[in-house]
């Protein structure tokens, strides 16, 4: 277990202890909630992770490294922003995919831009949630406010990268 995982376990047990102090029912609700989430997430993990490792074997590293690599700079950040907006689905799709790109040689600032674009501009989320719940005017307003942010995040990551020398290494 890595240090970050141990920290996560300690944090979760601490929060659970606090919930238990609110009374047994709160603790039970927390456990039931956790169980329901696990039942939903584990089948997705079991197919998403092999999907990502299969894809990572298929994508030629040279292509990912050339288009989205650490040396692709601002052009790579722009490309990653455009690509991120079109990645459909929740975190169980996007994060294994990013892992695939990283293993194939993509750069950290480019991947920061990709994740940011997926989260803020993700077309699937706008179409399936924002539009029906809040209306088209709101969706346009929010997309206009957010359009430039993924590029900004990528450039910021490029500037901060020297402080995070291990950002692309698996623990």
């Amino acid at each position: 277990m890595t240090a970050s995982q141990i920290l996560l376990v300690v944090l979760s047990l601490g929060a659970f202890a606090l919930a238990l102090r609110r009374g047994l029912p709160a603790g039970q609700r927390a456990l039931r909630d956790t169980g329901q989430s696990l039942v939903r997430v584990i089948p997705l993990m079991l197919v998403a992770i092999p999907m990502a490792t299969f894809l990572s074997q298929l994508i030629p590293p040279a292509i990912a490294a050339a288009w989205l690599g650490p040396d692709s700079g601002a052009a790579g950040i722009l490309l990653a922003t455009a690509a991120g907006g079109f990645i459909p689905g929740g975190p169980f799709v996007s994060f294994p995919l990013v892992l695939t790109f990283i293993k194939a040689g993509a750069g950290a600032p480019q991947m920061v831009a990709l994740i940011t674009a997926w989260a803020i501009l993700g077309l699937h989320r706008v179409l399936s949630w924002e539009l029906p719940v809040l209306g088209p005017r709101f969706a346009v307003l929010r997309l206009l406010s957010g359009a430039a942010l993924p590029v900004l995040a990528g450039l910021l990551a490029e500037a901060l990268l020297p402080l995070f020398p291990h950002a692309l290494l698996r623990p």
Binding site: T34, L58, G146
Partner: protein, 180 residues
């Protein structure tokens, strides 16, 4: 329920197609290598994910939803955006939980800058997703770098949204399907 299963089957079919392509192009050894990598990754990810979900489930019991709406009115200024950023970080769950909450916030008087700040903060930096997915899969260093780069973006989006001349009033009736 249908959405969930649809996601599962889409992922499954992509996985099967990619596995078949790999088998045809690179042979059975490449498939076995990929499966071995996947198995190792699952062993790393699953314990962290269980801990992350327990953390999220417990926090949900500790923080009352909607308690922050009063802090995010149209005259709330930068402070309202900071509160919205914090609320976004702490809001667990997917879009089926967050967007109905946004509607509640809007009807309770939160202004559009704060609402957009909240959505961006939740979508980008929701702690539950960072802890459950990003840290286990991509590593703590990358997750922290990404998180830090995303932290100011909600505030920026909120400030921009207050200046864009598009008028918007929240829909009055809850949308169908918000119970999901």
């Amino acid at each position: 329920m249908l959405r969930r299963n649809a996601t599962f089957f889409v992922l499954l079919s992509i996985a099967v197609a990619a596995g078949a392509a790999l088998f045809l192009l690179r042979g059975p050894d490449a498939v076995l290598t990929a499966l071995g990598t996947a198995g190792g990754l699952l062993l790393v990810v699953l314990p962290a994910m269980m801990a992350g979900l327990l953390l999220a489930g417990s926090l949900k019991q500790l923080i009352p939803p909607g308690a922050l709406a009063g802090w995010m009115g149209s005259r709330s200024g930068i402070r309202g955006l900071l509160v919205a950023t914090l609320a976004g970080l702490l809001t667990p769950g997917g879009p089926m939980a967050a967007f109905p909450l946004v509607l509640v916030l809007a009807q309770a008087g939160a202004d559009r800058g704060a609402i957009i700040c909240f959505i961006v903060s939740w979508a980008l930096n929701g702690l539950q997703r960072v802890l459950v997915w990003e840290v286990p899969l991509l590593g703590a260093d990358f997750a922290l770098l990404r998180f830090l780069c995303g932290l100011p973006l909600g505030l920026l989006a909120g400030l921009l949204a207050r200046r864009i001349p598009i008028s918007w009033t929240p829909p009055d009736t809850p949308p169908p399907g918000h119970r999901a």
